[in-house]
């Protein structure tokens, strides 16, 4: 019985000339047209089932046949890797690959594959090349998304059944990032990090997943087991491939001893200048001896390298990457100790514990996330040095921001640690002359590769467009301040292509708070961009105490969020408005109490061109909407025709539609309860 139900009309008109019924024949013997009544089932037809079969856990398969074509009976086609490889893949396999949707459609934003964000044109080119070429050195400038391109290509290759097993070898510090990028860009692929104790790793190596991610060091340790297991790999991808530039090293030997049909090497460090560095990477990519004189020509064949300046028009103004790094052993020990004692102290304080106590503990923990106090070890620093080295070779400059300035945890500590990059420091305790000198030195001195700034000092009044890379060594959790700082590098003269890296330490308070705020941020950014997200202002008391699994003491009322805005007294409302304006970068002075008449606050800020913007602020602690009269009252005190003096009317009860309309034409901004608490 055919699955497609159909009937053939046997009364159709046919030529009656003799022999017609035998004139058409199949090869061999379709017979369908001999006569319709005598139609026999064609034998020269076939069907190939290309179903996506759920993994049945078939022990005969080395990997889950998740995308493996099925045979007609619906069972998975087994593939035993110990079998000699057939010279020609089966028709099933060839068709399964050939009949996949074309790459152009798969990579399109409106195509059948959902991508977390639209791929840029140069990234699509990179993905195509990764798919089409078995051996490739992807050497794009840092910040152009090599990981994204590789993850997307792995996804497509796996979907197209061209590969089943992938091994990604990466520095230990970026394994978690790889996992995150794979989850984001190839969500249907199963991925495992090969980490943990030896016993755990044995189990993980044996797991049947699409992608395994391992560090260079772990690979070197486990290489004997990998060889013994005779697991075959379809693709081996080396991230930061310059790690194997020493051909004689154990790591290099281990990596090169793994066989695979496809081999990719990713690096942001230019390699053209060192034949020796190249030799090792080339010998990984193209097994077999290569003569010195041939190395560069072979490199040209397999290297795909795009500089940031070449793809500038494709790039968005700012590309932000959050880098999650694990703490070093020393940091972890110190962090664990402080967390234990700090939490115990908070518990002991009981009802006397305040938000200030919690914030103080958070600050101490954040400092340890930067540097271990005694040894000075820092996983963030180690990762950043690696990235800065790549940038340095390319002649790029970078800005590094930290909220701390101290010799132990902040700007000055970083300055010592990054001495070889010619650091220029910029902090709030420097005189105006010193700051100008620092800015000039960074701009004019080619040896000055990095500028290290305290977030608060470097966030305003600086234009540093010579840097196209920005690192946030720690987070202030205030997007307004962070973007203000980032804007130093792209505001004037460099309107596109700034790469921003934000560090957080895994399994620490930094990661926890990052997650909480990320979940809240989408709500904030829906209606206001530069919203204050300082911890004290953006997390409720419950959330702050909850970070340490503690309940907040009762009767605490230190966060604006815990207060009903409509219950605020006049002075309280003034204070809240002042606080909000300061978070937005204004300097605010309070005018003498006016009892509802004149201006309550005067807020000033300099814009990027140096012009001063002044806000005359009037606060009305009304629970009902303010009407046109209230707007007019403020409008009347504003200098007529001035574009640099504006009014701001604050009213928790909101505004009537007429008032909103009236304010629009008179340079008066309106803040209701939402703006005050967001």
């Amino acid at each position: 019985m055919s699955a497609v139900s159909y009937l053939i009309n046997t009364t159709a008109a046919f030529p009656t000339s003799s022999g017609t019924h035998t004139a058409m024949r199949s090869v061999p013997e379709v017979g369908a047209l001999q006569t319709l009544e005598r139609r026999t089932k064609t034998t020269d037809s076939g069907s190939v089932s290309l179903s996506l079969a759920p993994w049945q856990g078939d022990e005969s398969t080395a990997v889950p046949p998740f995308f493996w074509p099925q045979n007609r009976e619906g069972g998975a086609i087994s593939r035993n890797r110990s079998d000699p490889a057939p010279e020609m893949p089966s028709l099933n396999k060839r068709l399964a690959a050939l009949l996949q949707p074309p790459l152009s459609i798969c990579l399109a934003a409106s195509g059948p594959i959902e991508w977390p964000s639209e791929l840029m044109e140069f990234q699509r080119t990179g993905i195509r090349m990764l798919i089409e070429r078995p051996h490739i050195l992807l050497a794009d400038d840092m910040g152009l998304g090599k990981t994204v391109q590789a993850a997307a290509a792995i996804r497509l290759l796996t979907r197209r059944r061209e590969i089943e097993t992938t091994l990604i070898v990466a520095p230990a510090g970026v394994i978690r990032n790889w996992r995150a990028e794979m989850a984001k860009w190839a969500p249907e692929l199963r991925t495992v990090e090969i980490t943990g104790s030896a016993a755990q790793r044995v189990w993980k190596w044996d797991s049947r997943v699409h992608v395994k991610i391992v560090s260079y060091e772990t690979l070197r340790s486990d290489i004997g087991r990998i060889r013994a297991s005779q697991v075959g790999w379809d693709l081996v991808c080396l991230d930061e491939a310059q790690r194997i530039k020493n051909k004689e090293s154990a790591v290099s030997g281990a990596v090169c001893s793994i066989t695979s049909e496809r081999r990719w090497a990713l690096t942001g460090t230019p390699l053209e200048n060192s034949v020796e560095d190249l030799r090792s990477i080339m010998s990984f990519l193209i097994p077999g001896p290569i003569k010195d004189e041939d190395i560069r020509s072979r490199l040209a064949e397999i290297q795909l390298r795009r500089k940031k300046s070449e793809v500038l028009s494709d790039l968005p103004p700012k590309l932000t990457t959050v880098l999650a790094v694990p703490l070093t052993k020393e940091q972890r020990e110190e962090y664990g100790g402080l967390l234990g004692t700090g939490t115990a102290l908070l518990c002991d304080k009981g009802q006397d514990a305040t938000v200030t106590d919690v914030l103080a503990l958070i600050t101490r923990l954040k400092q340890i996330c930067n540097f271990a106090t005694e040894s000075g070890r820092s996983s963030k620093l180690e990762d950043m040095v690696r990235r800065l080295s790549a940038l340095r070779e390319e002649g790029h400059k970078a800005l590094i921001f930290s909220q701390f300035t101290s010799e132990t945890y902040g700007v000055y500590r970083l300055g010592r640690a990054l001495a070889r990059f010619g650091p220029v420091l910029y902090t709030g305790d420097m005189s105006i002359g010193q700051r100008e000198e620092a800015t000039r030195a960074f701009r004019d001195n080619p040896e000055a590769g990095v500028m290290i700034l305290s977030l608060r000092a470097g966030g305003v009044g600086l234009n540093l467009q010579s840097a196209s890379y920005v690192f946030h060594f720690d987070r202030w959790w205030n997007p307004a301040s962070e973007s203000q700082a980032e804007d130093r590098s792209h505001r004037i003269g460099q309107t596109r292509g700034v790469s921003v890296y934000k560090y957080i330490c895994e399994d620490t308070i930094e990661e926890r708070i990052h997650q909480i705020l990320r979940s809240k941020k989408s709500l904030f950014t829906e209606y206001v961009d530069d919203v204050c997200m300082d911890l004290g202002g953006s997390l409720t008391e419950k959330e702050l105490f909850g970070i340490f699994n503690l309940e907040p003491p009762r009767r605490q009322r230190t966060s604006a969020r815990d207060v009903s805005i409509s219950e605020l007294s006049g002075p309280e409302l003034d204070m809240l408005a002042k606080y909000r304006l300061e978070r937005l970068g204004y300097e605010v002075e309070m005018s003498p109490p006016s009892h509802g008449g004149g201006v309550d606050l005067i807020a000033r800020m300099r814009d990027e061109l140096g012009s001063e913007i002044t806000l005359f602020v009037q606060c009305r602690n009304w629970s009902s909407p303010a009407d046109v009269r209230a707007v007019r009252e403020l409008s009347d005190v504003l200098p007529r025709g001035s574009r640099i003096v504006q009014g701001l009317l604050v009213c928790p009860g909101g505004f009537t539609a007429d008032a909103a309309h009236f304010a629009k034409d008179r340079h008066v901004l309106l803040w209701g309860a939402a703006e005050l608490v967001s």
């Binding site: 497609v4 053939i8 046919f14 000339s17 379709v30 089932k41 996506l52 009949l99």
Partner: protein
């Protein structure tokens, strides 16, 4: 309606669309046909193919000759296909509308696709016209599947894949 109600991780409608492709007069008067079934994501699900060798058309009325060859291929493909698509898609310039109105009665909804020539000086492709042999409700599974396939730019492209598949299955017939 599934007896076990469920929601998938995507809103893609289940089922597959079968793209029926006919290649007349390949070497030695072979006629080839294939049906590539794809799901809403464009992934191939099933590929069914057949060939017949046509005689000299001298004694045939041209329209009958064409129709008969195509009907033979369609029947062979339907016979061999182990799963039924939600909808069968054909190119209007390849399939005489009489095939499914007079020659073969298929229970599966069929949609004939034609592309209008683009307006002069336009860089855009011409409009694509769909003609259903059985009127489909807007929310019918077949219609939903075709709609999402169209949005994803997969309304014409699978015919090319079907030809690629035929070239792989019958390489000898395509050699110069």
């Amino acid at each position: 309606m599934s007896p076990i109600p469920f929601h998938g991780i995507t809103d893609d409608p289940p089922g597959a669309a079968g793209f029926l492709r006919f290649l007349p007069h390949v070497a030695d008067d072979f006629w080839l046909g294939a049906m590539l079934m794809i799901d809403a994501a464009g992934e191939p699900v099933e590929f069914t193919y057949a060939r017949v060798q046509a005689p000299s058309p001298t004694l045939w009325r041209p329209e009958d000759f064409f129709l008969t060859c195509v009907r033979s291929l369609a029947a062979a493909i339907f016979d061999a296909c182990p799963v039924a698509p939600l909808v069968i898609v054909c190119r209007a310039d390849e399939v005489d509308s009489r095939l499914f109105s007079e020659q073969i009665q298929v229970e599966t909804p069929i949609v004939l696709i034609s592309q209008e020539p683009p307006p002069e000086d336009s860089e855009l492709d011409g409009d694509i016209l769909l003609q259903w042999t059985i009127e489909q409700d807007e929310n019918s599974p077949a219609r939903r599947l075709i709609n999402i396939i169209a949005v994803r730019g997969l309304l014409l492209e699978p015919f090319e894949r079907a030809e690629i598949g035929l070239r792989e299955v019958y390489p000898d017939l395509f050699e110069p």
